[in-house]
Amino acid sequence: MNSIHDMGGMHGFGRVEAEPNEPPFHERWEGRAGGIVETMSFPPGFPGDRFRYLRETLRPDLYLTQSYYEQWLYVAEQILLEAGMISAQELRDGRPAAGEAKRNDAMRRDVVWDYLHDRTHTGRKLEQGPCFAIDQRIRARNMQPEGHTRLPRYARGKIGTVTRHHGGHVLPDAHAHWQGPAPQHLYTVRFTARELWGEAANARDTIHLDLWESYLEPA
């Protein structure tokens, strides 16, 4: 979706401000929010890509003004509401509806480490070979999906060169919408800064993106 999360190439946000000796969490609640999101029970088969998509659906004014962990909270609430695992009333009240049975399958503390170790396997074997070869010139498609995509606006319609093939990977555009993993070949594509940003850009600089096959067409 073409929303505020797709920030590459924008002006107006000011200087990058780095904080010396930044702690992992600035306030206790940030750690609690992170821990809730990472260890709570998810709806069965919940596609990880939907997490990113739901964050993108945050209203643009809130996306820019809420802190990172506030946005995680929004996503956690959204996931549980969508799946009917909590109700709007329960969320307002901060307690379960009367007569609700308590589940007993929440993640236990002794498995967190293994859980962090095992997730994010997005690589998939594909029967069909890749359509594009290393060093091939391609054009990133000019497309405006209303749903989730990982093709940023700044690369759409631009010509680049394939530099690496990563094999098959789960396609976020389908997966985020519960349409299954729909794996496709994934490539690293190199764009020159001049192709993306015009003649004023440094002629030596390049920008590299990981793009799925359906994002690309021969150039």
Binding site: G34, M40, E82
Partner: protein, 213 residues
């Protein structure tokens, strides 16, 4: 169903949810507390498990893991070769947490090439080797300008690169995670691998700084 109509179905549902969210406490600390207690009472989360998660990111996972990888690559040319060929496997040899670092690629800085990592669409970051990302990495100024004006961004970090150095910016748009292998600083020939690892900073492994001795 096409992606377009999916997007529309979602927008109706999401508009409903926006309404609910506007009724929740604006203080995030209160909102987290309410959500945690609701979920704990429903058996959807175990507060002791949240404690364990916080502890892992406060004390067990951080940039010192990445620093070990870098120092090993500096002293062991065969390891460096393996790291540049298949970083996932080479980092796996050191027996560190996998997680979001499943598909790793190492990017070598040289006197003529400088690599810089960003995620313009969200905040993808090689968690197992660097821990949680700093706030600036997740911020709008960095995400918007790292791809458009990398030299300007680097200047804000105090790093001014000569015109002839090629800058390669890596936008983490998939599940591939990037780790910059910085240049080994001059005058460190006599240091041990461990002493070298102590010099390597998080910022150098993202590409916004050089390692100095």
């Amino acid at each position: 169903m096409s992606q377009h109509s999916h997007g529309r179905d979602d927008s109706a549902k999401i508009a409903d949810h926006h309404h609910i969210h506007s009724e929740l406490p604006s203080d995030p600390a209160l909102r987290v507390k309410a959500l945690e207690s609701l979920l704990a009472e429903k058996g959807l989360v175990d507060p002791a498990t949240i404690d364990a998660w916080v502890e892992i990111y406060e004390s067990k996972i951080g940039p010192r893991h990445g620093a070990k990888v870098v120092a090993k690559a500096w002293v062991d040319p065969a390891y460096k070769q393996r790291l540049l060929t298949d970083a996932t496997k080479a980092i796996g040899e050191l027996d560190m947490l996998g997680g979001q670092g499943q598909h790793m690629v190492a990017l070598e800085n040289t006197p003529g090439v400088h690599n810089l990592v960003v995620c313009t669409l969200c905040s993808c970051y090689p968690l197992p080797v660097l821990g949680l990302p700093p706030a600036w990495y997740k911020s709008a100024p960095y995400r918007s300008r790292a791809v458009l004006d990398p030299r300007g961004v680097l200047k804000e970090f105090g790093l001014e690169l000569p015109e002839h150095v090629k800058i390669r910016v890596w936008d983490s748009t998939a599940e591939v995670r990037y780790l910059v292998l910085p240049e080994r600083p001059a005058g460190t020939e006599k240091l041990t691998e461990e002493q070298l690892a102590a010099l390597v900073t998080r910022d150098a492994m993202i590409g916004v700084a050089k390692v100095t001795a």
